[in-house]
């Protein structure tokens, strides 16, 4: 009996080991099966039968055939890293992604960090296992790191070799801006606007808004909230009139999440509302030390000392905030309007009067107009092709496809004839599709997945061609920003990772993350001043002046590149 059980265990053990060995074997086999055959695909072939409408893009060009048309029948799998944990839309389940796979032959597998983005990206780099395509914010230090260490392909070289069509669809201005000193371009941006675009269009919007809950704001008589005094009075009036929202205490002042490096609502956005300049006398200006900002932070401190800055805003994470926005718990907040779009729809459904509306918020003591930065030439993200990619030919062709007008139609509007049609020569979404989009974004993404659900190459400038006025409840917030949007491309500088300057900057930023809540929660104004002065001294000790000097230099280079003086 005893012997018997031992034998069983041994048998089990052997099986376990066998399986684990088998698993190892399987892994090894995979790459050999997908051996790249790059050379074979460069030969120019006539466009396949199914793509007659695809040639519309290049009617006036004789020879350049879009690369993606040649290989639609040859299916490949590409992995695509997205450096944002909130991006959860899968590929291949909705209309748009299915159609793109069908047209280009590329099937995408997204790799998205489960938690902290930097952690995931750094470990991908350190372990030398980068996916085929990479999309990350242009400001991330890893962008230059990967370029400098040759981990990504030069896009122009790939395009010359495999897909000359890329040059047809890439924007000259953007190429010029993103081309490095070595003459190559490694990443192509999305949401990029050149300073010239700002002169061309008057419906470029900003994300940054000062929002109030409509019914409350109107109930207290739509007061002026542009001065600290008016602001404090309005907040107090709202809190007094509406102590509770649906049985839960009101949160009079809302904000974005407090992070390790501060809170965009109280530093960046507030500075923009106060029209604090980016440069002074040709020097890069340290905006967060401006007297106007201090004036307003003191106003918030006053509110905090009287209990109007609730604990919630310091403790809550994004998920809790979204829940509270959907309940309409905040009276007012400096917030990104696109970040509460979904919650706004919920509020609108419950009671169209309980939505958030953009109104005039904090102004500086001179009453200057707001300076809200729209996305500049840097745009938002850059997409790169890693050297680990076994099919760079297909990757660059996919990029060209997504950058082309056809690709833009696809990602913004969907499939022609299914989700949109030309009406009077203008691209127009079908009413039933639009209905779903405005009421249930999740269902829309699942079914269609257009409206820039795959935003990695979204060309906002091009999309203005078929842009229609954003419907309520989101339109008012967007339109409010139009007059105040400015271009700040020349100030969008990012310090090289690993440099002393970026080290100093991160020390200062982390200190600010600790100091900002202390400032807002200081009991008296004297306490505030003490904390503030200590902080200013600490920054000096860290060596902030050196950072500003470097940034001034970078700013001058950027100005030259953009042709600004």
């Amino acid at each position: 009996m005893k012997m018997g059980s031992k034998k069983w265990i041994a048998l089990l053990l052997v099986f376990t080991m066998l399986f684990s060995l088998a698993a190892c074997g399987e892994k090894k086999e995979k790459p050999t099966g997908a051996e790249p055959t790059v050379g074979a695909t460069t030969e120019p072939t006539k466009a396949a039968d199914g793509t007659t409408d695809g040639t519309k893009d290049n009617n006036n060009q004789e020879e350049v055939v879009p690369g993606w048309q040649k290989n639609a029948s040859d299916k490949v799998d590409l992995t695509w890293y997205i450096n944002f944990s909130w991006f959860t839309t899968p590929w291949g389940e909705n209309l748009v992604s299915k159609t793109i796979t069908e047209e280009t032959g590329c099937n995408i597998e997204f790799i998205v960090p489960a938690g902290n983005e930097a952690e995931k990206l750094n470990s991908l780099i350190a372990s030398d296992s980068l996916p085929d395509l990479l999309t990350l914010g242009w400001w991330e230090g890893q962008v230059n790191q990967m370029i400098e260490d040759g981990m990504v392909y030069a896009l122009d070289e790939l395009a010359t070799q495999y897909d000359p069509y890329w040059f047809e669809v890439a924007d000259e201005g953007r190429i010029g801006w993103f081309t490095k000193d070595d003459g190559h371009i490694y990443g192509y941006p999305n949401s990029s606007f050149s300073p010239q675009d700002y002169e061309k269009y008057d419906n470029i919007s900003s994300n940054q808004t000062f929002l109030v809950r409509k019914d409350m704001y109107e109930a207290i008589g739509s007061p002026d909230m542009t001065t600290p005094e008016g602001f404090i009075a309005a907040v107090k009036a709202a809190a007094a009139m509406f102590p509770e929202v649906n049985g839960q205490p009101i949160i009079p002042v809302g904000a974005h999440e407090f992070g390790a490096t501060g809170n965009v609502s109280f530093d960046q956005y507030l500075s923009n509302f106060l029209a604090i300049p980016y440069e002074k006398d040709g020097q890069y200006y340290d905006r967060y030390t401006d007297a106007e900002l201090v004036r307003w932070l003191k106003a918030f401190r006053e509110l905090g000392a009287e209990g109007f800055l609730k604990e919630d805003i310091f403790v809550d994470k994004r998920a809790q905030m979204e829940e509270k926005i959907a309940q309409g718990r905040y009276f007012c907040m400096l917030y990104q309007r696109t970040d509460l779009a979904d919650q706004q729809k919920v509020l609108y459904k419950n009671d169209p009067n309980s939505i958030y509306i953009a109104v005039d918020g904090p102004k500086n003591s001179k009453g200057d107009a707001y300076t809200l930065p729209g996305t500049g030439i840097n745009g938002w993200c850059v997409t790169m092709i890693s050297k680990k990619c076994e099919r760079p030919d297909r990757a660059i062709q996919l990029c060209s496809y997504l950058m082309s007008e056809r690709g833009q139609h696809m990602t913004w509007l969907g499939v022609e004839g299914v989700t949109w049609d030309y009406v009077d020569g203008k691209e127009t979404m079908k009413p039933e599709v639009k209905e779903l989009l405005t009421t249930d974004r999740t269902a829309y993404d699942k079914q269609y997945g257009a409206d820039s659900c795959y935003w990695m190459f979204q060309d906002n400038a091009m999309s203005l061609k078929w842009a229609v006025e954003t419907p309520e409840p989101l339109g008012q917030m967007e339109r409010w920003t139009f007059p105040y949007v400015i271009s700040v491309s020349q100030y969008d500088v990012s310090l090289a990772a690993d440099s002393d300057e970026s080290d100093i900057q991160s020390k200062v930023d982390n200190e600010w993350g600790v100091v900002l809540p202390q400032l807002l929660l200081a009991k008296t104004e004297a306490d505030f001043d003490n904390i503030w002065n200590a902080f200013i001294q600490k920054r000096k000790d860290f060596g902030i002046d050196k950072v500003l000097e470097t940034k001034t230099g970078m700013m001058n280079v950027a100005k030259e590149k953009l042709g600004l003086k």
Binding site: A118, E119, Q248, F258, V315, Q518
Partner: protein, 313 residues
Amino acid sequence: MTEMSNLKKRKKSVTMRKFMNQKYLQLMVIPGLIWMFIFNYIPMGGIVIAFKKFKITKSIAEAPWVGFKYFEEFFQDSNFSNIMINTIGISLLKLIIGFPLPIIFALLLNEIRNLKFKKFTQTISYLPHFLSWVVLGGILTTWLNSTGVINELFQALHITSGPVSYLGNPKYFWGVALISDSWKELGWSAIIYLAAISSVDQQLYEAATVDGASKMQKIMKITLPSIKGTIAIMLILQISGLLNANFDQIMILKNQINISRSQVIDTYVYQVGMTLGKYSYATAVNLFKSVIALMLLLIANLSSKKLLGRSLY
């Protein structure tokens, strides 16, 4: 001479035979050993980056040596004293208050005569252990809010007069960390002591009863001395983990206002190493922590050996 070698040989063959008899059991150890080698020993090589200026785009071998630069940087870091105070403070609290609690709880449980009630209490008490800190953290944040259930309870009982923001004030953080951790792990940690208690010879208790010992005397004179060894081992392990202040828990409960009392070595290493990408610096900090932990372990083990004659090895 020959006899000696014969004896040796025989001894060897005995060991060998013993081993062969256990060969299936010994075989079962192998996967564990392989696992440990791969996941615990090979990564140790990476420690060298604490002494190198490591860039993630280059291999470790290419990185230039910088000696103790990162250690010095850490000791001069303006956060250093704060982090050390928090780490040791929270851990000491957990050691002094959190460590005896499960022992007392196990002793109390052992005295319960109603078997059903005992089982019930035990189950209830170790349930929180199975909730991950991520889940529990979300629950605790709501409970500890100034309008949360804890505040309502304390105000109703007149323990506090007004709402207190437990997570929004640095001075409460250590208490929150201690109480939530003790509550979560109380029942689970008690299991090991209960097991030790159950192996105490019942005849001892019977003899004591005959001699007219009271319940308290039985606990003090029989139960506690019998599980002394278990307690010693647990204490040694706890002391060696003095600089580990439960990463999950603190990561979840810390926020920007209580950070002055909630930033501990582990969370700092995570923030600097993982999110800012300063791997060398973070490794140096962690290596420093490990060296201290090793020293604490050796000291605790040695003193336990001397005092109680019990040790880990």
